[in-house]
């Protein structure tokens, strides 16, 4: 079980870095990458535990997550480009029209 705890610890570290990136970075692109990091932390868990138990469920899950992550990035980049076109910036802090 010790190995599994190490996996969990490592994946939690990845997840925490991703979270921190979301909270700290202003650049929308970097925030996007941080979100991907969070997904990969989950993927690590899924694959490691699937391997541990000898089933394929988790591995299939992780594969599909990668596919979806790509789709998500495509849409995210499109939105960032739209923002850049209108405002000449990719700084998430400049999104300040809608509030209250």
């Amino acid at each position: 079980m010790a190995t599994m705890n190490a996996v969990l610890f490592f994946s939690f570290l990845l997840f925490a870095i991703g979270c921190a990136g979301m909270l700290v970075r202003r650049n929308a692109l970097v925030m996007l990458m941080s979100a991907e990091l969070m997904l990969n932390a989950a993927n690590l868990n899924l694959i490691a535990f699937a391997r541990h138990s000898g089933t394929v469920t988790g591995q299939a899950f992780a594969l599909l997550v990668m596919g979806f992550a790509a789709a998500e990035v495509a849409v995210g980049l499109a939105l960032v480009v739209a923002l850049y076109r209108r405002k000449d910036t990719v700084n998430a802090d400049d999104l300040n029209l809608l509030k209250g």
């Binding site: 909270l23 202003r26 998430a92 300040n96 509030k99």
Partner: protein, 634 residues
């Protein structure tokens, strides 16, 4: 078998017609539809009423279909006519039809004519649903519906600043009460597993008297909170005086004769439950007594003719609750019945005066109208005599029975009631003297004053007959009568149960008590008349002698101001604070200012918090998740 559903549906159809086609149809058609549907309802109610008396158990019930049905709950969509709801139906449709007729004259020149009748008919519909509904949810539908109509009608003159505000105030105060009813309903459902009135009462019959502790007391208290909202009792009475911003026929129908008595109706409807909870009854008696006296004292000094009547209504409603609280359901309801006649009459009479004086409502600018408005004068005089409790007018019997029962419960309650009655007598005679006696104080308006058209005076005359004779339905036993109304209502009030509602043993110095209260009432009435019959001088002198009391009464004990200062302002302040907490502190504060401080402490951490909005949102989510984690691990 009478099609019971027609009785509420007719006014609804009238309302729909006037709402959709009223503007194009012209005033004649609108009036015919509005008055006609309610009058037809009245006739059908009469038929149903007599059919009910012949029916087994004095009860007609029609269930149309299963309205809501889940595993544990079945709420039929049904209507009931029994002595209690039957009497209310007659009052609503009968007095309602008269007031509709009166409105034809009163609202004649208003541009919102069709709108007015649309709302008024809708009100009659909801009020009928309230009294006829066979289950509490259906009753609650009517309960909320009349509140809505009341809101719309109070705010009817929306060109003014105060009318919409008054409407909103009424609605919000009522919502507090409605919350009580909703909670009470939930509690009753929890106890009995049903929400039909008959189901609840049948099961309540099997409860032992000791069951009156705990949940049942809580439920009845909550229902009483609802009743204080609708029926304007302390502490939720504040909306009713303001509600006078609505047109006068509305004040007569909704805020005197029918809607405001629905609190009393609710308690009578569930009388056997309340009989099981003596503590609730005591609360009801004291709240009612306190309101009766409190509102009457405020009425002593009001200048606006409708405000006097409004406080009078609050006070009279207090008497009704005093009667209920003394376990005299029949007596309380009897007062609802007599009060509907004379108070509707007083309001319509006041409306006639206001109409004649070109919308002048200030008593201090009236005077000497006796000769100009003879019919109004005579009918209002009869109503005044009835409300002051002069035998054998209607108010005497009902009020005396209540006071007598209050004496049996607690002599202090009787004393409060008598004191309130003296005030009632005083302010009513003051009103009459200021309006009809003395010299005219506004000569221009006086010159143009004229008696109202027949559509307005005819209802006055009919109501006057009721105000004089309605009391003979319940001549108390102490005066050799049989208190017939109690026997009549018994099937509905006791619901076939031995320990249901009966007024206790009649023993006590009935004649003496009646004598004292009547003598005092007449004396204070005469005093009021003498003070004001020649104008304002004597009254002002008296006011000058008691400046403190006068100011306090004139400002209605400063309750409105206190509510503003201690309730509304803190609520607004709190709302603002919440917004500031979330928006200013959480977003700008933690997000912007706090980092400012942190910068100085730990330079590189600046980036951690110096954020724009999206990241603040993310931060809130993260903090929220951590909080939930903490909640669990704690």
């Amino acid at each position: 078998m009478t099609p019971l559903w027609l009785i509420p549906v007719l006014p609804l159809l009238g309302s729909a017609f006037n709402g959709f086609f009223g503007k194009r149809a012209g005033k004649g058609v609108v009036s015919a539809v509005a008055v006609g549907t309610v009058a037809l309802s009245f006739i059908l109610s009469l038929v149903a009423f007599f059919a009910m008396q012949g029916a087994a158990g004095h009860r007609l019930e029609a269930t149309y279909y299963e309205w809501m049905a889940t595993g544990g709950l079945s709420v039929p969509f049904g209507l009931v006519v029994d002595p209690l709801s039957g009497t209310m139906m007659l009052v609503i449709t009968g007095i309602g039809a008269l007031i509709h007729l009166y409105s034809v004259g009163y609202m004649h020149e208003d541009e919102g004519y069709a709108r007015f009748f649309c709302y008024l008919n809708l009100f009659v519909f909801f009020m009928l649903m309230l009294v006829m509904g066979s289950s509490l949810p259906l009753l609650f539908v009517g309960w909320e519906g009349v509140g809505l109509c009341s809101y719309l009608l109070i705010g009817f003159y929306f060109e003014t600043d105060y009318a919409p505000a008054a409407g909103l105030k009424a609605f919000l105060f009522n919502r507090v009460g409605d919350l009580g009813v909703a909670i009470g309903m939930m509690a009753l459902f929890g106890m009995f597993g049903t929400l039909t009135v008959s189901g609840i009462l049948t099961q309540a019959g099997h409860l032992s008297p000791e069951a009156g502790w705990g949940l049942l007391t809580f439920a009845t208290l909550m229902l009483f909170v609802g009743a204080t909202g609708k029926s304007a009792q302390i502490p939720l009475y504040l909306w009713l005086p303001d509600a006078m911003a609505g047109p006068t026929p509305v004040s007569a129908l909704i805020h005197a004769a029918t809607m405001v008595t629905s609190g009393i109706y609710l308690i009578c409807r569930l009388a056997p439950l309340f009989s099981l909870t003596p503590h609730t009854l005591t609360v009801i008696a004291w709240v009612g007594g306190a309101t009766a006296l409190f509102a009457a004292t405020i009425g002593l000094v009001q200048r606006d003719i409708k405000k006097v009547l409004a406080y009078s209504t609050v006070s009279q409603l207090g008497y009704m609750f005093l009667g209920l609280g003394s376990a005299g359901y029949a007596a309380g309801f009897f007062h609802v019945f007599t009060h509907a006649w004379f108070k509707a009459l007083l309001f319509l009479g006041a409306g006639s005066v206001i109409h004649a004086m070109h919308h002048e409502q200030d008593l201090f600018r009236m005077g000497g109208l006796k000769s100009k408005l003879p019919i109004t004068f005579v009918t209002m005089l009869l109503a005044t005599i009835a409300i002051m409790g002069f035998p054998p007018f209607s108010g005497f019997f009902s009020k005396d029975e209540i006071l007598y029962l209050a004496y049996l419960k607690n002599p202090a309650l009787w004393a409060i009631g008598v004191l309130g009655a003296c005030c009632t007598s005083f302010y009513m005679w003051r009103l009459m003297a200021l309006a009809f006696w003395g010299e005219p104080r506004d000569h221009h308006a006086f010159e143009h004053a004229h008696e109202s058209p027949w559509t307005m005076t005819a209802p006055l005359a009919v109501l006057a007959v009721g105000a004089v004779f309605a009391g003979f339905w319940g001549i108390p036993k102490a005066f050799g009568g049989s208190f017939a109304i109690e026997g009549f209502l018994a099937p509905a009030l006791t619901f076939g149960q031995s320990h249901g509602a009966h007024a206790g043993h009649h023993e006590g110095p009935a004649w003496l008590l009646a004598g004292i209260s009547t003598t005092l009432g007449i004396a204070s009435g005469a005093f009021g008349w003498w003070m004001y019959k020649d104008g304002l001088a004597k009254g002002e002198a008296l006011g000058a002698k008691l400046p403190g009391l006068h100011v306090v009464l004139l400002n209605k004990y400063f309750v409105d101001e206190a509510v503003e200062a201690y309730l509304l302002r803190p609520v607004r302040w709190f709302g603002n604070l919440m917004w500031k907490l979330v928006d200013v502190i959480l977003i700008d504060g933690i997000g912007v200012n706090l980092p400012g401080a942190l910068t100085r402490v730990a330079g590189d951490f600046t980036a951690l918090f110096q954020t724009g909005r999206v990241r603040n949102y993310a931060l809130t989510m993260g903090l929220g998740a951590l909080l939930l984690l903490y909640v669990f691990l704690k």
